[in-house]
Symmetry: C2
Subunit: 401 residues, 2 copies
């Protein structure tokens, strides 16, 4: 006999307060009181640059020129073969990855890529490790499989991976490690050297424990890097036991259309079995297939991105100004987040104080790291410009106190 009329864990998740959502809603109330233009909302990670016209045109052209039964029909669960082949070819051209269509599985976006991959490999009793600070839904996704979610404390100087702590934490129950580079919430890009070291550790520990430890690379921000010198290595090339989870949400500014994919490394031990487990997990979770029309849309716009130069301009403006005002900012090579040390120990208290200046920031606690705030600069450049005096006054207020 069951103990409850519903699944208590799901209820708890559904009722969990979200500081990001609460901040966003506060911003909406405040905008009604004092006008939208006087509220500086840096809370949400939504793309602020429109999808390219080419993407919009592709949608209309597909609707006008394709048999509607085919355009709106199911694809196979793994995605349309020509779409997977085209994406594989594009990745091979850009990264020399040696992928084929059968290494790709189309998904309903980044979250689906992650939940499907995690369900394919994790069982209760297993452990999945990640590095702080991290996207808070990682915990939700891992714990939904029944596995244990373990966090490696942040290196609050560099915000690179704390590899010594990682190596010490891995045990026989460690089945996977999830990484996110360029990183949400810091904007840091893990260096190739550090990624090589991570893979070395994984190879050594996999051999020691006699089973592969999988690397799950969450890469929605892959294309969002702002300096020519910044390299984001393709991880299947560094480590055979790699799943790459991708989404077009950020690169093409299509978050609402739910389209992405999983790459199962062709070098992976038991590649075909793991791919089949991905198929099984997608089926069990109820995904059926990735949105068919959007599969066609992304396949016809490979290599294209939204105008990412706006994010670079925003980054430079905000980083330079805040550094000048005396804030300690982590230099973001990618994504659209600036991670800034709070001016008092308690980041929540700091964010409350920032609201006195109509600045809406997200405290770092929910990302698994205390004492910082996340500033999402996927906003208009003009709003950033108008917000700068407020950041300056906030810093001054702390200097006076």
């Amino acid at each position: 006999m069951s103990h409850s009329n519903y699944n208590q864990a799901m209820l708890a998740l559904g009722q969990a307060p979200s500081v990001i959502r609460e901040t966003f809603e506060y911003g909406n109330r405040r905008a009604q009181e004092i006008g939208r233009e006087n509220v500086f909302d840096f809370s949400l990670g939504n793309p602020s640059v429109p999808t390219p016209d080419a993407v919009q045109n592709t949608i209309c052209r597909l609707v006008e020129e394709t048999d509607p039964i085919q355009l709106h029909g199911y694809t196979s669960a793994i995605g349309a073969e020509p779409v997977r082949a085209a994406i594989a070819e594009d990745l091979n051209r850009r990264y020399d990855t040696g992928l084929s269509a059968s290494d790709l599985y189309m998904t309903c976006g980044a979250a689906a890529s992650l939940t499907i991959t995690l369900h394919a490999i994790l069982c209760p009793g297993d452990e999945c490790i990640t590095f702080a600070p991290f996207f808070p839904e990682y915990r939700v996704f891992v714990e939904a499989t029944g596995a244990q979610f373990t966090v490696i404390d942040a290196d609050t100087e560099s915000f690179q991976m704390n590899l010594a702590a990682f190596s010490d934490t891995i045990s026989a129950k460690t089945k996977a490690v999830m990484i996110n580079t360029p990183n949400n919430p810091t904007g840091v890009v893990y260096t190739e050297e550090n990624l090589q070291k991570l893979c070395e550790i994984l190879r050594r520990k996999s051999a020691e424990y006699g089973h592969p430890i999988y690397l799950i690379a969450d890469e929605p921000y892959r294309e969002l890097v702002y300096d020519a010198a910044t390299v984001v290595p393709y991880l299947t090339k560094l480590y055979a036991e790699t799943f790459v989870c991708y989404s077009y949400s950020k690169s093409l500014s299509l978050p609402g259309d739910r389209i992405g994919y999983i790459v199962v490394s062709p070098q992976m031990t038991d590649n075909r079995l793991l791919y089949a487990a991905i198929c099984g997990a997608g089926r069990a979770l109820g995904f059926v297939c990735a949105p068919s029309m959007m599969q066609q849309v992304v396949a016809k716009n490979l290599g294209l991105t939204a105008d990412l130069s706006i994010y670079r301009k925003n980054r430079d403006l905000l980083y330079n100004a805040l550094t000048e005002y005396g804030y300690r900012c982590i230099y973001p090579d990618g994504a659209f987040y600036l991670f800034v040390e709070a001016l008092e120990q308690d980041a929540n208290a700091f964010c409350q104080k920032a609201r006195d200046y109509e600045l809406l920031l997200v405290p770092s606690d929910s990302f698994g790291c205390k004492g910082f705030v996340r500033i999402s600069y996927c906003v208009t450049t003009e709003m950033i410009e108008r917000s700068l005096p407020a950041f300056q006054k906030l810093a001054e207020a702390y200097r006076k106190s």
Copy 2:
């Protein structure tokens, strides 16, 4: 320490043979050998009628006239408020249901509606019951929650619900019952009288065991009924503890676009808690939000359906002809399936024999009921006409033997 490099249950699901897929692939091979026009493939449940022009026009208009950041942006996890309000109003108009926007949760289609609802209520140790014959993924979806899946044997005369057996099966561990009317694979619509009796049993047993037994109504075929007299009651009106799982895949011929919703009955005990559990389950499974643009598209085409008269024409043609040839056909009031008794005990053997006449049918075994075949009549009327001599010869072959 884990016993496997992957989740064995997911691997098994990913590797499971599917008789429908196998039949479809056989059809493709056969089409290459003898020409597509000579193969009569009745295996797939894909809409064969195009989505209305109005839907196509809405997509283009939205792309041309909406701010792309908004059109392709995230909605809240539960779906855009105006979309939910519009759907609630449409349902209230059609069925006098008294729903509000806050009773609806937008999803990525029927499968997502089901997995989210099941995860919201079921825990390991619970039981979910369904009536044979049933859509085979029900077992996958229920077992993914850790709950037990229990099947009530078919009433092979009427293919209505076997309520006596159902009443005898319910126990303290029964948390939910799933029904599907109009039904896949039979096309039968459960009578209002039988649905009233089902709800009576649920009320009595809920009282007896001291907890609600939920009714999960899987309704992708709601609008696919062909006789003016056929009534498909709205189940929240018959029973308070009801979830309605809907998808636009069949009614608007948009299966690839993955758009649907869950209705949580406003009369449900703990309605707000159950709604929160739905939110938690959607989050844990990785759905984020239903496709944003498609939310707008369906909200702007409420009350519209694809041209369903083609399915009625197909039904009449096939039912009348096969009955005339001596087949025992279950009269389908809805959906686009005809359920026909096999001409020998083993439906698999019968389907193999049918292939000698290039007829591709699906044996009923995977639907939890032996001795029948499913004929999907979501095909061209012209293919049905050309296939009739083959059905006639198949019947004659059995009469001779």
